[in-house]
């Protein structure tokens, strides 16, 4: 049946389940003081915090971390937990779950307020959530970055100190935790939410409320983990190892609860993405036509949904240890500190691929555009991503080679770890194959992608070294590991994020990023990233341990080199922020409709993207990435707009 046949017999009513079937606005959604927005979220969050604190003290007063300190772990936990609930209630995330008790269903949705204030509200539009996430992750990055600057300042000199050893470790811990939490969402959140529906030709997300909830949980988690600092910090690094975890003060509660809260947000975000990709692809978008970025988000979503519950449970057990005095991680009482390490890394290793795959997705998506040719071995890269996702559940013990693991088990996990570099290598080779003898357009996004391949080569190869048990024994716990994962995460993921922003911001905002400033940003970031972290491999091989505020005096030269490079690296981010402000507000330059001449679906709809994304459901006609191909059909048929009688637009 053709769509044109149907046009004359349109029906009305809540049929499509689209989030914008208008109904009368309830007071919570109307503009004005009484509506729910960021402000009410803050107020309710504070009230929740206070109530929780009072309630905790009521339940268990005189029950303190340190005798007579007045710090009560139950009060702390409940304060933060109630604060989170208050925050969610204040923003309006709990209205619908509550209304559901009375039989209200998701099809009677309200149309959101349509003015600037929509960015400060609980929004069901995936594009608004995407933009909210951009701001959210940049805020995360900024605070985490400041802490990094503090770390490098302290390491300028091995004998003259700015911080005490114990303040130093708390700064390192906070830095690591914030950055890891940010990195799990940095692409899935902003770019995944904004672009996945557009790239698969969907007019909505499968679960817009769950998507919005994931963002507001993410922000709540940020505040919880940040509250560790005023509570006195936590001394364990981002890995939170027991028994230090058990001995630590109130800041540890913020860490455990923060991770649990962020984890919940990650699960929800992945859940919504996976279901959307599986079910909302436009007609004609078979699995072999799905853009590679979407493949990467799907693989990531599988990890987010299946690995993160383990982190959540691990955090819950830690909180029980802290509050009701169970002994999950307390060896003296029948628990085991290794239990935490196992739970943490069972999540933690998939987590590192949560931080790698979306980056490769962006690289794979951008390469064809700037090389003007199809992605080399598209199917191999999709298979590689699924392979990596599956294998990543079987390697976690490589983080525990030195942790009293049964020595006979080590070769096995060495093997699985080395196995996982095979699909990873495939993904890498897909990139190389696409680049091989291509006429490359060296636009800004492309520069970041090329840098990613350079950095990840170093990061990945050192990973293979690390998985070798004898090597691991000598470098574990030192700067070599530190450098390895900065090369993969910062050098890979963060460069991909920048590529994605420069590439897609014109679509998201309708404005181009300034190229000159962008080039300055790129070269500073690329050069000084390498100058900061490459010396750390050497520092590590020379034996400097992580998370210690002093070091052997003969290493000062290398450390200073690294620190000074780090400051310039930090400065490059200021250049980026300046560019953002400059190009978006000070001197905006209107972006052409399709500045990179991409064939991608996301560039074929109007800018700004209407709330329903596409006027008609597009029908996908062919494989993606058929660049420079004579006579290739258009990627999608968008159907007739004004002339309803097009015989071609069928959905069969």
């Amino acid at each position: 049946m053709t769509i044109s046949d149907e046009r004359s017999t349109e029906v009305s009513g809540p049929v499509s389940g689209h989030p914008h079937n208008t109904r009368k606005l309830s007071w919570t959604q109307r503009p004005g003081l009484l509506s729910q927005n960021l402000l009410t979220a803050i107020v309710f969050g504070v009230i929740g915090y206070l109530i929780g604190h009072w309630f905790g003290n009521y339940l268990a007063s005189g029950y303190s971390y340190i005798a007579n300190s007045g710090q009560n772990s139950i009060a702390n936990t409940l304060a933060l937990a109630f604060g989170v609930v208050g925050w969610l209630g204040g923003i309006g995330a709990l209205n619908y779950p509550f209304a559901k008790l009375f039989g209200v269903d998701g099809l009677e949705e309200e149309s959101p307020v349509d003015n600037w204030s929509k960015y400060f509200r609980y929004s069901l539009d995936h594009k608004i959530v995407g933009l909210q996430y951009v701001v959210g992750v940049l805020l995360f990055m900024f605070t985490g970055g400041l802490l990094a600057m503090a770390i490098r300042t302290e390491l300028l000199n091995p004998t003259t100190h700015i911080f005490s050893p114990d303040v130093y470790i708390k700064i390192v811990s906070e830095h690591g935790t914030i950055m890891m939490m940010m990195a799990t969402s940095i692409i899935v959140g902003p770019l995944g939410n904004y672009f996945v529906p557009l790239m698969i030709g969907a007019r909505r997300m499968a679960f817009p409320r769950i998507e919005a909830l994931s963002f507001w949980i993410f922000t709540a988690g940020y505040m919880v983990i940040f509250s560790a600092l005023p509570y006195g910090g936590f001394p364990t690094g981002w890995t939170g190892y027991a028994p230090l975890q058990t001995q630590a003060g109130p800041g540890m509660v913020s860490y455990l609860l923060g991770f649990a809260v962020i984890g919940l947000g990650m699960i929800l975000a992945g859940f919504n993405q996976a279901v959307t990709i599986i079910n909302y692809r436009a007609p004609g978008m078979t699995w072999s036509r799905v853009p590679v970025f979407v493949w990467s988000i799907l693989a990531t979503a599988a990890l987010l949904t299946l690995a993160t519950p383990v982190l959540f449970a691990g955090g819950l057990f830690g909180l029980l240890d802290k509050t009701v005095q169970t002994a999950f991680y307390v060896d003296e009482h029948g628990g085991s500190s290794y239990l935490w390490q196992n739970l943490f890394w069972f999540f933690g290793h998939p987590e590192v691929y949560i931080m790698a795959l979306p980056g490769f997705g962006i690289a794979g998506e951008l390469l064809p555009v700037f090389c003007r040719r199809p992605l080399f071995a598209y199917k191999v890269s999709a298979a590689g991503m699924i392979g990596v996702a599956l294998l990543s559940f079987f390697v976690w013990q490589h983080h525990l080679f030195q942790s009293g693991i049964n020595p006979d088990m080590r070769p096995l996990f060495m093997l699985t770890t080395e196995l996982i570099s095979i699909p990873t290598g495939f993904i890498y080779l897909v990139g190389m194959g696409t680049l091989y003898r291509a006429k490359i357009r060296f636009e800004l996004p492309m520069l970041f992608v090329l840098a990613l391949f350079f950095n990840f080569l170093i990061g990945g190869v050192t990973g293979v070294f690390l998985s070798d048990v004898p090597v691991n024994v000598t470098v574990h716990g030192g700067f070599f590991v530190l450098s390895h994962f900065h090369y993969t995460i910062m050098g890979g993921l963060l460069f991909a994020f920048m590529a994605g922003l420069y590439y897609w911001l014109p679509k998201m905002t309708g404005k181009m990023m300034n190229k000159k400033i962008g080039k300055v940003h790129f070269w500073l970031m690329f050069v000084f990233f390498n100058l900061t972290f490459f010396p750390m491999f050497i520092i590590g091989l020379l034996g400097q341990p992580r998370r210690v505020f002093t070091y052997a005096t003969n290493l000062q030269g290398l450390n200073d080199f690294s620190s000074i490079s780090a400051f310039i690296l930090g400065f490059s981010f200021l250049v980026f922020f300046f560019n953002l402000v400059y190009s978006m507000w000070i001197k905006p330059e209107v972006a052409p409709a399709n500045p990179w001449e991409s064939l991608g679906l996301e560039w074929q709809t109007a800018t700004p993207v209407p709330s329903y994304n596409f006027e008609r459901i597009p029908v996908i006609m062919t494989e993606p990435y058929r660049y420079s191909e004579e006579g290739a059909p258009a990627f999608a048929d968008f159907g007739p707009k004004d002339a309803p009688d097009s015989p071609t637009h069928t959905m069969a």
Binding site: V15, D105, L107, N279, F328, G334, L343
Partner: protein, 218 residues
């Protein structure tokens, strides 16, 4: 074209397109229900892993001194009631498919009640333990189990209640049409929701049986 569509500037779709989106919505409920089971499995598996990990490590011979066990009477009652809840959800769905909304709603409301009683008992049980939370590995994991069970029971009762409340509302609003047969989109979404819900309840019951055996029988 309906008024509301004009207001929000949304173009109207053909029936075929609407149906396409409707099917996506229904299958999303299906996929979502299954994926939720996956998520929940991994969470419960963390507990099972912890149980066996601590049991086999037996640090300081403190896995389970004197084979302490949580009060069995509570255990049997709580598990029995959750079993009944699961069965009611399952049977209720079967009856709905066969065309009786009445039976479904009786089963579902009873399930809500049995679920809530189980929830209450689970909370009360915590004040009737013969051991302190931190006295052994078993004691710790038991507390973890109790907390997760509380979460499960809340989810179970909530999902049952919201589906049956929705069914009743649809019956009221879509006059003359029964949610068990109607082709009204909301009725279709409702049926998909009930299917996902009963599937999840069966899963919870099976997982609950395993955990019950681990903590009360083994």
């Amino acid at each position: 074209m309906s008024n509301s569509a004009i207001q929000s500037g949304q173009p109207s779709l053909s029936n075929e397109e609407r149906e396409y989106e409707m099917r996506a919505l229904i299958s999303s409920i299906w996929t979502g229900g299954r994926l939720f089971i996956g998520i929940y499995t991994f969470m419960l598996a963390s507990l099972v892993f912890s149980y066996f990990y601590l049991r086999s490590s037996d640090t300081g011979l403190l896995w389970r001194p004197d084979h302490v066990t949580a009060p069995r009477a509570f255990g049997f009652l709580i598990f029995g009631l959750s079993l009944v809840t699961g069965l009611l959800a399952y049977v209720g769905r079967k009856r709905l498919v066969m065309g009786s909304f009445q039976d479904f709603s009786v089963a579902a409301w009873s399930g809500v009640v049995t679920g809530l009683i189980a929830l209450l008992l689970q909370i009360i049980e915590l004040s009737h333990l013969s051991f302190y939370p931190g006295s052994s590995g078993y004691a710790s994991t038991f507390i973890g189990f109790a907390v997760m069970n509380i979460v499960s029971l809340v989810i179970s009762a909530y999902w049952l209640e919201t589906t049956v409340a929705r069914g009743m509302r649809i019956r009221r609003e879509v006059e003359g049409e029964n949610p068990e047969f109607s082709s009204n989109p909301r009725a279709r979404a409702f049926r998909a929701d009930v299917a996902a819900m009963s599937y999840f309840q069966v899963f919870l019951t099976l997982a609950g049986a395993l955990l019950f055996a681990m903590f009360y029988l083994m």
